[in-house]
């Protein structure tokens, strides 16, 4: 996989500090699964957490805390369901990153896609927290209306590609944009584009088409 667009540092800091909404954290983990470069950067942002943990003034534990814990060391652990085995360097173009595959539980084409506009289908993952997490499937030549963002928006390309004001985004790439960016992605090959999009606030469309499309697409 040839990845050329990665996360903003600020996003990885939020991932490491545990302050991303669930859907965005899922998207970050999915890209990390594919991207050694961002994994190294995440080790660095985790290290900030380690340094800050060490800097805290200790708070005394209950008197019997150690005793209680030692008594539990021998208890048989109820094993949670094992995490899916990571698959590396897969040549299969339809392979989903393991974290996303675990949440979806079925192949991408078997999902209950719902038509939300001309040439656009979506699946809402229905995760909790602010913002939304959805899969979007866009037909060749279709462009998503001009929109800006009130919060952050993360996009991970799973299949196909698109081009917008920032550049060209292909499988494995992430787009990490916020309020400052106004963009209008267009699917730029004859292959459909499927991407995972997670936001921490609803999108704000600009222009007439945007205003018409917003209630329709429900983005």
């Amino acid at each position: 996989m040839n990845i050329s667009h990665h996360f903003d540092d600020a996003t990885l800091i939020s991932y490491s500090s545990g302050s991303l909404p669930q859907g965005m954290a899922l998207l970050v983990a999915s890209h990390l699964h594919w991207c050694p470069e961002c994994r190294v950067r995440t080790e660095e942002t985790d290290t900030i957490g380690g340094a800050l943990l060490d800097a805290l003034a200790p708070v005394a534990l209950a008197d019997d805390a150690l005793e209680q814990l030692l008594a539990r060391l021998d208890a048989v652990e109820v094993e949670p369901a094992p995490a899916p085995a990571p698959v590396q360097n897969s040549d299969n173009d339809d392979e989903l990153p393991a974290p996303l595959a675990a949440v979806l539980g079925q192949p991408i084409d078997a999902l209950p896609w719902r038509r939300v506009g001309y040439g656009v289908q979506q699946v809402d993952l229905g995760l909790e927290g602010p913002g939304a997490t959805r899969l979007l499937r866009i037909q060749p030549g279709i462009s998503v209306p001009h929109h800006t963002h009130r919060g952050n928006e993360l996009t991970l390309i799973l299949r196909g590609s698109y081009t917008d004001e920032v550049g060209r985004f292909q499988r494995g790439d992430v787009a990490d944009v916020d309020t400052e960016v106004q963009h209008q992605p267009i699917v730029d090959t004859d292959q459909e584009c499927i991407c995972l999009i997670a936001t921490d606030a609803p999108l704000k469309f600009s222009g007439l088409i945007g205003r018409l499309a917003q209630p329709f697409i429900g983005l």
Binding site: H33, A51, L52, L53, L66, L69, A85, P130, N152
Partner: protein, 201 residues
């Protein structure tokens, strides 16, 4: 006068000594954790518990958890340390960093009231950045030192992220600044920490 201030030099030397001592301590804890995986020594575990338990509790309280919950999650976190010690890789993280990530995941878990999806990431065997055991602890100490030198505005957004678990939007709202400023402050802070991380190695 400043360049020839013997007092100032003494202070600097003392700080350097303190940092060196801290770096050694970090290295020792990291070795201790790696040893625990092999020996399953309860006495060693009790020592790790005595050092990290109260810090883990402090972190959980900062995240806004009630006292009783903090005590309980601290127990869970330290129990995970015992159970997962075999997964600890001293070439990838220091003991503090590893225990921080375990605790963070447990807190996310608790706040979402559902199981945190712990994602198994591919193991980077041929990592060019692979470091020998204990080196991570030194890097972390350098990071700690660098955090102290950040401008207040940058340290603040870092603390709000890590200590209070606040999202970019929440920080923007709390400080009354645009979202973009929160992100650029975080970026600047990370850039500076990275300089220390890479520059002095």
């Amino acid at each position: 006068m400043l360049e020839d201030d013997p007092e100032g030099k003494k202070v600097n030397a003392a700080t350097d000594l303190a940092h060196e001592r801290q770096a050694r301590e970090r290295e020792n804890w990291t070795r201790a954790l790696a040893t625990l995986a092999e020996t399953r020594d309860r006495k060693l575990f009790a020592e790790l518990f005595a050092h990290f338990g109260p810090r883990v509790k402090a972190y959980i309280i900062r995240l806004g958890m009630p006292m009783a919950t903090a005590e309980e999650i601290t127990q869970e976190a330290m129990l995970s340390v015992w159970r997962k010690a075999h997964l600890f890789n001293a070439a990838k993280a220091s003991a503090s960093t590893w225990i921080f990530t375990l605790t963070r995941n447990l807190c996310i878990d608790r706040m979402r009231r559902e199981r945190h999806m712990e994602y198994e990431l591919p193991d980077d065997k041929a990592d060019p950045q692979e470091r020998h055991d204990g080196e991570q602890a030194v890097l972390e100490q350098r990071m700690r030192k660098a955090i102290d030198t950040l401008p207040d505005a940058q340290a603040q957004v870092l603390f709000l992220s890590y200590y209070e678990g606040k999202s970019h939007s929440e920080i923007a709202e709390q400080l009354g600044i645009p979202l973009g400023s929160v992100k650029s402050r975080l970026r600047l802070a990370f850039g500076k920490l990275k300089q220390h991380w890479e520059g002095e190695s």
